[in-house]
């Protein structure tokens, strides 16, 4: 039965320190970041952009392909060189230059990734 206890401990260890799915890892306050895309990894399970803003290199999580498409965002629009503003929530850990975008603004045009989220 000692082995069962070992499994319970293993299960507890598996509890994620940082989950990037969902919103529970993000801060409550709205956050906005304007910069230039330097790197773009789009695709399932979700897209990841590197955005150069105010001399800092930020990681901006965007949607999976269907969500980006639904918001009117093509892969080209999120490609390196693109200037954009990402609005959403940053990580609760202030040491991390990491945010998850709810909306992307390109050239004054709003692209809402989560129209059902207020």
């Amino acid at each position: 039965m000692r082995l069962f206890h070992a499994f319970v401990v293993l299960g507890l260890l598996a509890t994620p320190a940082l989950a990037h799915h969902g919103w529970r890892w993000t801060a409550d306050g709205e956050f906005s970041l304007t910069g230039v895309v330097t790197e773009s990894r789009l695709g399932n399970p979700h897209g990841v952009l590197t955005v150069e803003a105010n001399g800092e290199s930020w990681t901006v999580e965007v949607g999976q392909p269907w969500r980006n498409a639904q918001a009117g965002l093509s892969d080209d629009m999120l490609a390196p060189g693109a200037e954009l503003t990402a609005e959403g929530h940053r990580s609760t850990d202030p040491a991390q230059l990491l945010m998850k975008a709810e909306r992307i603004v390109i050239g004054g045009q709003l692209h809402d990734l989560y129209p059902d989220r207020s």
């Binding site: 039965m1 082995l3 499994f7 293993l10 260890l13 598996a14 994620p16 320190a17 940082l18 989950a19 990037h20 799915h21 990894r41 695709g43 399932n44 399970p45 999976q64 392909p65 269907w66």
Partner: protein
């Protein structure tokens, strides 16, 4: 072009990467496979180690091993598809590398398990214990990839 790059460039990987339904279904298939694998391995090894009561260990192994193998094949096939969608990222990921090392060890041990596992010998017991430890560790390392 390296092998991971070539794999990512295949039509299948590109399709999965951009798909709405195929990717989550493949993901679910991977989870179902490893659930079946670990779900068969744990009771099998616990019985081999006489840590739980039940039918004769040899009978338990005969019954559960095909499920473990089926789960392993499922997890491997669907896992390979998931890997293809972002192979260049995965090969550089520390948790992924650890998982592959643990998987290799678990597979070698599984080979010994097939040969000696049901024998009830001291060696058979050790193999069962290692199996009971390694497969959940493979699962844990795999899960951590998503949090790195």
């Amino acid at each position: 072009m390296t092998f991971p790059e070539a794999l990512e460039a295949t039509a299948l990987a590109q399709h999965l990467r951009a798909s709405r339904w195929a990717y989550p279904l493949v993901n679910a298939g991977h989870v179902a496979g490893l659930g079946l694998l670990v779900g068969a391995v744990v009771p099998m090894d616990l019985r081999l180690l006489h840590l739980v009561p039940g039918p004769e260990p040899a009978a338990v192994v005969a019954f559960l091993r095909p499920f473990a193998v089926a789960g392993l094949v499922m997890a491997g096939v669907f896992g390979g598809l998931l890997f293809a969608t972002a192979a260049t990222d995965y090969v550089q990921n520390g948790w992924f590398r650890l998982k592959m090392a643990l998987l290799a060890a678990a597979l070698v041990n599984a080979g010994l398990h097939v040969r000696l596992g049901a024998a009830g010998t001291r060696a058979g017991q050790a193999i069962a214990a290692v199996s009971l430890l390694l497969w959940p560790l493979v699962l844990l390392a795999g899960r951590m990839i998503g949090y790195s």
